[in-house]
């Protein structure tokens, strides 16, 4: 039964609708939405294992064979991301139980989280370009609401910009789809790939591919990240963690899909542009991470640096580099959620976001401090932790492809990541304590437990990279050989 691959999208949609009717019953809402995410994680592990034995799974909706109907395609790459999404969302939900507040919970917060996850999972699973657009919109509409929910001044200001920029990028997406449909006359990704290969990617198609690059660059913050630090600083911590972990990653996923499955013929043009953009993103993100004293801004610019790093892997497109990018993508979703949660907890404890006014937190909150230390090491790519394997593989790929400038930028950016977070660590956790015993805000267990869970996941991901290797190499294999994907979709 292939019907199971629709569940990661359908369950959150249905549950999101049901939760609307459970408005005042916050306890029920909490347990149901947590249950959904855990169930999703279980389902995606099951599908992931089935893909290893049976190859890529697909589900044609309504029995219409591709290319005529919409379909969902589950390969290792998309299922790895669905699994990571479920884990991250479960943890962010646990954090929000204890931090988000009654006002949010009764105003359909959990419904919108479910819709957000539905959009994200749908984007990962779909095999149709216009369906991808629709899933993007589901995700974005939920995120518009989540960013503005609460209605503080700063949220309203930032949500206006966020909505405006995303309306613009959705417009670019529509235009790109219109041009592509006008040129090759289909919307199914596998069929598109075949037709583009037949046409040999004419200059017109390359222009369209650059239009797609603009769209996904806006969504993922590849160079066009000017909207990102503001929007990710405004919402409550749990929401910011979800955004930081999921939203840009969907753009990255779409970019990987489009540039490995559809437009892989003119790599000297498109992949060079991606490489240049990734390099500039690394530089810009590094400057931003050092320039601010607001901890939320520092964390947001770290998201930007990671986007640049992952796309270095796509730009050089050797097998190692793609594998490295996939490892790094998983690692980054988990660690960025953890980083946002820790930063949010620090702001909650001290009442300020400026690192100059925090000091000596480690005396009062040792566990929090050491978790921050671990996340910093993990982001910088220190060996036993999860960031290491991705960085090594991307670096190896870049060296093999001879892109030494990108290699240098990618690794220098790691130093900047380390420095920016070390600055936070030294300034906030070390030094004289500013919180006396009487003023000490008790750190709720509910805020600590999710952080501990994610820390364990990042350590586990680092130590257990070996057991993940078959899934990741299968994902990289599918990405590098579009024929595998096309065969699974069209020739059955």
């Amino acid at each position: 039964m292939n019907n199971i691959i629709v569940l990661p999208m359908v369950i959150p949609v249905l549950i999101g609708i049901i939760l609307i009717f459970l408005g005042p019953y916050t306890k029920a809402q909490r347990w149901i939405s947590l249950g959904v995410m855990v169930a999703n994680a279980g389902i995606s592990i099951y599908i992931l294992n089935r893909i290893q034995t049976e190859g890529i799974l697909r589900l044609d909706f309504g029995g219409w064979t591709p290319p005529f109907g919409i379909l969902f395609v589950a390969d290792s790459f998309s299922m790895i991301l669905v699994l990571t999404t479920s884990i991250v969302t479960s943890v962010c939900l646990i954090y929000s139980f204890f931090s988000i507040g009654k006002a949010h919970e009764t105003m359909f917060f959990y419904s919108f989280v479910n819709f957000l996850v539905a959009g994200v999972n749908g984007s990962f699973l779909t095999g149709d370009l216009f369906n991808l657009y629709v899933c993007f919109e589901i995700m974005l509409l939920a995120s518009y609401v989540l960013i503005a929910l609460g209605g503080r001044k700063v949220q309203l200001k930032e949500s206006i910009k966020y909505v405006a920029i995303n309306v613009l990028s959705s417009w670019f997406f529509l235009v790109a789809i219109a041009y592509l449909y006008g040129t090759v006359g289909t919307l199914n990704m596998a069929h598109l790939s075949e037709r583009i290969a037949e046409a040999g990617q004419t200059p017109l198609l390359t222009v369209i591919s650059i239009l797609f690059l603009t769209v996904f660059g806006l969504k993922s913050g590849l160079l066009l990240y000017f909207w990102l630090p503001g929007s990710y600083s405004a919402p409550p911590t749990a929401v910011a963690a979800l955004f930081g972990a999921l939203l840009t990653k969907v753009g990255i996923y779409a970019m990987f899909r489009v540039f490995t499955l559809l437009f892989y013929h003119e790599t000297s043009i498109t992949h060079t542009i991606i490489g240049v953009l990734a390099g500039l993103t690394l530089i810009g993100g590094s400057i931003g991470a050092l320039a601010y004293k607001d901890i939320r801004q520092i964390v947001s610019y770290n998201v930007v640096i990671a986007v640049g790093f992952i796309l270095v892997g796509l730009a050089v497109a050797t097998p190692e580099a793609i594998e490295g990018s996939i490892y790094y993508l998983m690692h980054d979703m988990i660690v960025k959620a953890l980083l946002f949660l820790l930063a949010g907890t620090m702001i909650y404890l001290t009442g300020t976001a400026n690192i100059d006014y925090m000091s000596g937190l480690i005396r009062n909150y040792p566990l929090l401090g050491w978790m921050f230390f671990i996340v910093m090491m993990s982001l910088a790519g220190i060996p036993p932790l999860s960031g290491f394997i991705g960085k090594v593989l991307v670096g190896q790929g870049a060296a093999d492809a001879g892109s030494y400038i990108l290699l240098a930028l990618a690794f220098i950016s790691s130093i900047f990541v380390l420095y920016s977070l070390l600055r936070v660590f030294l300034s906030c956790f070390w030094g004289e304590t500013i919180i006396s015993v009487e003023d000490e805000v008790p750190l709720k267990k509910g805020m600590l437990v999710p952080c501990v869970l994610l820390t364990l996941v990042t350590i586990g991901l680092g130590l257990g990279a070996e057991s993940l290797a078959p899934y990741v190499s299968d994902a990289a294999n599918t990405l590098l050989n579009p024929d595998v994907y096309i065969d699974a979709v069209l020739n059955d």
């Binding site: 629709v134 509409l141 309203l156 200001k157 405006a164 613009l168 417009w171 529509l174 041009y179 449909y181």
Partner: protein, 112 residues
């Protein structure tokens, strides 16, 4: 015919770009609405504006116009409807809360 529609949608895009770059929030929203019109016209044109019957099987015609772009436009219209409605409400709320619709005054977030 295609050329004419393409030019029209180009005009719409330039008008929309001009509006989006202006300082007043409501003009930005008008700009995004016009932008979506341009995109929808473009999708329709890219599907081809050949002569043919409306895509209804009861018409018994020898050829029909392409039905797929019409479905795409219909989907995209409702989505942009929803987004525009949300955007308008958001703008109204921001106006009552912050007291201005001047986008220059909405910069930065130092007040919190």
């Amino acid at each position: 015919m295609e050329t004419l529609i393409i030019i029209l949608s180009g005009v719409l895009v330039s008008v929309a770009t001009y509006l989006i770059l202006s300082r007043s929030l409501i003009r930005v929203i008008l700009g995004t609405a016009i932008l979506s019109h341009a995109a929808h016209l473009l999708i329709m044109t890219m599907g081809g504006l050949k002569d043919g019957s409306v895509p209804l099987l009861g018409e018994e015609a020898s050829s029909y116009t392409d039905a797929l772009p019409q479905a795409l436009i219909l989907t995209s219209i409702v989505i942009s409807f929803a987004v525009t409605a949300l955007f308008l409400v958001l703008a109204y709320r921001t106006y009552t809360e912050v007291g201005t619709d001047n986008l220059h005054a909405l910069r930065g977030f130092k007040d919190e």
